[in-house]
Symmetry: D3
Subunit: 248 residues, 6 copies
C-alpha cells in the first residue's frame, strides 16, 4: 500500500498491525548519456512498490531530491543542501511519529545521501537525548541502500563484473529500463574511464567525469536484469524490514 | 517530458528552446473517509503530466510533502514546517537556475502551501535584492493553483455546486479517481458539515472536522469529471505557462 | 491602551477581561515621490490606536519592518527575509502566550507581508501539531489587512476609483496625511502607469516602476479621506476583533 | 528627519550629505509597578527624535522588541531570542547598506540587548571577513547606550544618587514621563530591594525581584528630569555621531 | 580533574559533591609577530588546569575556536560566526545539564567572545523562559575573563603599565611562555602603535594594525610573569567559582 | 607544528610550501568503566602531534566535541547536534580557506562523527556548486579515521582479536594510556557483552549497554600497544596526507 493511495482510516487500520513504514529516498541528478535524471529516486521507489505489493508494507512518498551538489554542473540536476535535507527528514519522521509510527525504514538509491541521511537520524535522536526524562514515543530509523543488498551485489557481479562502476551503473539503469520501458535511451558503447580520485564540488566533478558517468558502462543495462534486481532485492528487503519491525 | 525520465543532454537541448519548467507541489495529508492521502500532490502531478504530453513542457519532480500541520491529527499526514519548505524550494530553484533555467512555474494542489510557497519566492529574491549589483542570472517564480483556473471553477460549479467544499472536494477526488482507478474508495453519503471557523493547529482541526472533510461531499466524485478537469485545466495551464515564459 | 504605555499590572488586569491583542504590522519601504517610507507601518498603527481609544483593546508595538525585498532598489527601503520575519513573529506570539494571551490579531498594512505572516502562523502551529499530546495553552492568530475591510474598499472606490492602484495608493497616503499633517509631501500630477506584470526582485521592480508607484495616483490623497478611512475601518475592526476573541 | 516620514527621494538627497543613520533599539518588557512596558524603546526613540530635530540626522524605525527573556514572567513582556534579533539586525543593516548607507549608529535603551547587538555586528562583519577579496561597500556599526553617556550618568547621580538602581530606574521613567505625560503612573514609595545576584531565566528573575524593579526607586522620577536627560544626552550623541560619520 | 581524563563513573561521583564545571573558551587567531595563534585558548586552559589541580574542580574541554572574524586577514586565524558559536555553547551546556550539571562557569581568554558568549546564555535561558511552567532542571551560566580579575590587572599594571595594550598583550604572551617554554618566539622591540579607532571586519583590522598587535608591546613578556599570572588568577577564580556554586 | 603554537608569519611561511592542514576531530563521551571521556579526541590529537613532529605538517586545534547524542545517558558526555557541528566545520574550513589553505585533512577518532563530517563537506561544497561561475579558491576536504588505517587494524587484530569491540576498545584506550600515563584507570576483567542491535537515542543506548562499552574488553589495553598504534598509524597518515596534498 502506498501511503499516498490510502485513506487515513486505512492507515489507522494498518497501524494496528504494524508501526513501520518504508520511505524511498533518491536524487534528481544526471546519470550520464543514457541514464535517467531520476534514476536514484525511481529505483528505490520501484523496488518499494514491489515490496509493498508482495508484503503489504506501507510505502511513504519518495524523497525525490537528495544531496547531489556534485552533479550541479550538468543540466537538470538538483540538490538540497545537507542541512535542508536534514530538516526535511526530521519533519517527515516526526510527523508520522506523532500519528503512531515508530519504525522508519529509508530505502535509499543514492550514495550521496548516505552521510546526510544518517546525520538526520542523529539530529532527530539528539533532540530527545538532550532532554532528561523525555516522554516522547519510541522512534527508530534504519537506512539501507538497495544496491548494497546481497542480491544486488550478486546480480551486478554476475551480469556486469567490473564494468558496473559507481555512477550511472548498468544495474540502476536496468531497473529504470524495466520500470519505464518507454524511457529507455541509448548511447555509443564508450567504455567509461576509471575513477581517478574523489570529486569535491560540481565544477570539479564535471572536470573529472565529463560525460557524467563514473567507471560505469551504462550501455550494458537491460530490462531483464532490472526485473531480476527488483524482485530479488525486494525479497531481501522484506525480510530485513520485518526483522526491523519485530525488534523488541 | 518529465525531468526524471530525461538525460542531462536532453535537458541541455530543451534549454536551447525554453528556460521554463513546471514543478508540481502538493501535500501528504488526510482527505477524509474516501480521499487519498496523496490527493494534493497527485492532482497537480497528473495535470502536469498531461500538460507535458500535450505541449512538451518539462516537468520537475513533484514536491509531495507540503505544509500540512493542521492535518497531523489524522494518521498518515505529514508536514514540513514552513521554514523547511522554504529552504527546500530555495534549493530546488537555485539548483536549476545554476543549470540555466530562469522561469519556475509551481503548479500547486494544496491551499496550505500558498503562503509558504510565496514566502519562499521572496526568500529567494531577497538574497539577490540585498546585494548591490548582483550579477546572478535572471530568475522568476510563478505560483498557480490548479483548482483556481477558470476551467476548474467552471466544472466544479457545474458538477458539484455548493457541495464542493474546501477540503477533500469531489473535484480533487475525481482527478485521483481518473488517474488511479484502482484506488477508488467509497464512503456513506454523509453530507459534510459546513465550516464554522478557521482552524489553527492539528488538535483544533480534528475537533472541528472529525472525519477530515471541510464542507465537501467527496462521494460525488467521479472519474469522468476528473478527466474533464485534467484536460480542461491543462489547456489553460499551457497557455498561462507559455505567457510566463514569453515575458520579456 | 498601547502595550508600551502600560505597566505589567495593568496588563494583568486586562488579561482578566480579555486575552486578545492587536499587533500592527507594516513595512519600511519607498512609497513613490510623495508617499512616506513608513506608510505601511503607520497606517495600521494609526488605525489600531483609534481602535484602542474607542474600544479599550490592547495594542502591541508595531512591527515596523516587514518583507519588502522588492523595494530595496530605492533608498531607505528595508526588508527582513521571510525566515527572519517568521522567527520574529514566532517569538512575539510565544512570549505573550507565555504570559496568558491567546488571541493574536495582526492588523497588516503591507501586501508583501501576507504570505510570510501566514507562514509564520503555520510555523507556530506546526511546533504544537508535531507533538503528540502537547499541553501548551491555546493560541490563535488572525491576519487582517486594513485595506481589505469593506469600509476601506468602499471609501477608496468612492474617492479614487480606478486611480487607487496598488502601491503608494492615495488611500494609504491619505491616512498618513491625516495622522502626520506636518509630513505631507507633494508631487506633480503625473498619472501612474498601469502595472504590466508582477515584479520579482528589487532590480526588476525598479526597472518596471521607476518612480516606485504601481498604478497609483498618490497625489489624489487628502487628510480628510484619511480621517474617514481611519474611523470607518476602526469600527469594522473592533467588530471583527470582538468576534475573534469571543470564539469558543 | 525620521526615515518613516521621508520619501525615497529625500533619502537620496540625504545620502549625498551623510551616509550615517541612527537606529533606536529598545525592548518591550515590564518596568515595575509604575514604569511603562515600552520604556526601553521609548527612551532612545525620544532622544533620537530630539537629536534629529536638532541636527538633521536621519533616524530609522525603532527596534521595539529586544532581548528580554528574563522578563517573561511578567505580563506584557516580549522577547526575541538572540539569534532572531541577530537575523533582524543583519537584515536591517544590509538593506540600508544596499541603498548606500555605511555608518549604522544603534542608540540602545536596554542593557539586555548589548551582548546580542554586538554579536549581530560580528555576524554581519563575519560574512565579509570570511570571503577573500569581497567587493562589498564599507559598513561600520556602532552601539551606544543612552544611559551610559556622561550627561546621563551626571544627571542620574545628581538627581537620584544610589537610588537609581538598574531596572525601572527613575532616569528612564523620567524620560517617558516627559515624552508621554498622559501615561504617567504612580506607585507607593516602597524602597526597592538591593540586587542580590545576577538573574538567569524568567522564573529566576521573578523570584528574585517580585515587583520587577532592580534596586530602583522608580517613584523618584519626574518629567523635568526627563527633559534634562533628553536634551543633554542629545547633545553628546550628536557629537558622537558626527565623529563616527567623519571617521576616515 | 579534566573531564576528558575522567571516566563517567568519576563524573557521577563528582556530581554528588558539586554540580559546577569550568569551561575554558578562547580563540584561534593571530597574536602579532611573536604571540601564539592559540594564545586566547591556551591561557584560560592553563589557568583552569591550575585551578583544577589546586581545588579539584572539574574542567571541560576547551572551546578553542571563538569569534575572531576581525583577525581573518592574517594566516592561521579561524572564526566561528556568532550564531555558530551560540549553537555550540547551547549544545555543550544542555548536554551536561541533561547529565546533572547546573552551574556553568566559562573562563574566557578572548575579548571578541564576550558578546556572543552572553548572547548564548540568553539563547539558552530564552528557550526556558518562553515556556510556561517548564520543568527543566535549574541551570546557571557565568562568564569571567581571566584578564579582568584583580590579580591580572594588578600584575599587568605592575609589570607592563601602559604598554600592555589590548591585543597580543605581554600578559597573555607571558602565560603561554610559562606554559609552553618550547614555543617562545621573539620579535624586534618595536613599540606598538596606539589604537586609533575600533576595527570592523578583517580587511579593516589589518589596515589599522598591520602586524596584528593593538597597542601591545608583546616583547615585554616573560615566563616568570606568566607564572605569577596563572597562580594569582587561579586563586581568585577558585574563590569566585566556589561562590557561584554555593549560590542558593 | 601545531597551529596554536605558531605565529601568523610562521603560517605564512608554511603556506608557501604546503596548503594542507590536519584537523583532529573527536568527541567528549563516556568510554566505559576505565576509558577516558576524551578518548576519541585525544587519540587523533596524539597521533596528529606525532605526525607533525615527524613530517612538519601543520595541525589545527582539535574539535573536541563531536556528535555523541547516544552517550548522553552517561555523566560527562557532551554532544553537538549534527547541524551545529556542520556549521562549526564549515566556519573552520572557510576561515582557513580565506587565508590560503586548500586541503583539509580531518583525522577522526569517533565513528559517530563520520556521517556529520561528510555532510559538512557537502554543505561546504554545495554553497559553491549552487553558484554559476563562482570564483572562490579551490578547496578539498578529506576524512580519515585513525582506527581504519591498515596499521590500526593489523595491530588491533594481533593484540586483541575479537575482543576489540566497537566502543571503549582496548586499542583506543591503549593510545590514551601511552599519551596520558597518569590517567590510566582500571576495571574488573568483565567480558563485554556482544552488541545486539544498533542503538538509537541516549536512553536506548544506556538500556542496551549499561556500562557504556560495546563489545570491547577495555581492560586488555596497554601503553605499549598504544605507542605502536601511534607510531605505525602516523607513518600511514603522513603518506596519505602527502598524497592528498600532491593531488593536481
Ligand atoms: Ni545513481
Ligand atoms: Ni486537497
Ligand atoms: Ni503601502
Ligand atoms: Ni529599562
Ligand atoms: Ni589574546
Ligand atoms: Ni571511542
Amino acid at each position: 500500500m502506498r501511503l499516498q493511495l490510502a485513506t487515513w482510516q486505512e492507515v489507522d487500520a494498518y497501524l494496528k498491525e504494524c508501526n513501520g513504514i518504508i520511505i524511498p529516498i533518491g536524487s534528481t541528478e544526471q546519470h550520464g548519456p543514457m541514464g535517467l535524471i531520476g534514476t536514484d529516486a525511481l529505483c528505490p521507489e520501484v523496488i518499494a512498490d514491489h515490496v509493498s505489493a508482495e508484503a503489504g508494507i506501507l510505502v511513504g512518498p519518495t524523497i525525490s531530491i537528495g544531496m547531489a551538489q556534485h552533479h550541479l554542473g550538468f543540466s537538470g540536476s538538483v540538490t538540497l543542501r545537507p542541512t535542508t535535507l536534514i530538516a526535511m527528514i526530521r519533519d517527515y519522521v516526526l510527523s508520522l511519529s506523532r500519528n503512531g509510527f515508530e519504525r522508519f525504514y529509508f530505502l535509499n538509491g543514492h550514495g550521496g545521501n548516505i552521510a546526510t541521511l544518517n546525520a538526520a537520524f542523529d539530529e532527530i535522536y539528539a533532540e530527545r537525548s538532550m532532554q532528561r526524562g523525555s516522554n516522547q514515543p519510541g522512534l527508530r530509523c534504519r537506512h539501507k541502500d538497495w544496491f548494497a543488498f546481497p542480491a544486488a551485489r550478486r546480480i551486478s557481479k554476475e551480469c556486469f563484473g567490473d564494468r558496473e562502476g559507481s555512477h550511472a551503473t548498468p544495474s540502476e539503469i536496468s531497473i529504470t529500463q524495466y520500470a519505464y520501458p518507454d524511457a529507455i535511451k541509448s548511447m555509443p558503447e564508450d567504455r567509461a574511464e576509471k575513477p581517478v580520485r574523489h570529486f569535491t564540488d560540481a565544477d570539479d566533478y564535471r572536470a573529472l567525469y565529463p560525460d557524467g558517468r563514473i567507471g560505469a558502462d551504462s550501455f550494458l543495462a537491460s530490462p531483464e536484469v532490472g526485473e531480476r534486481l527488483v524482485k530479488e532485492c525486494a525479497k531481501e528487503i522484506i525480510e530485513d524490514f520485518n526483522g526491523f519491525v519485530a525488534q523488541p
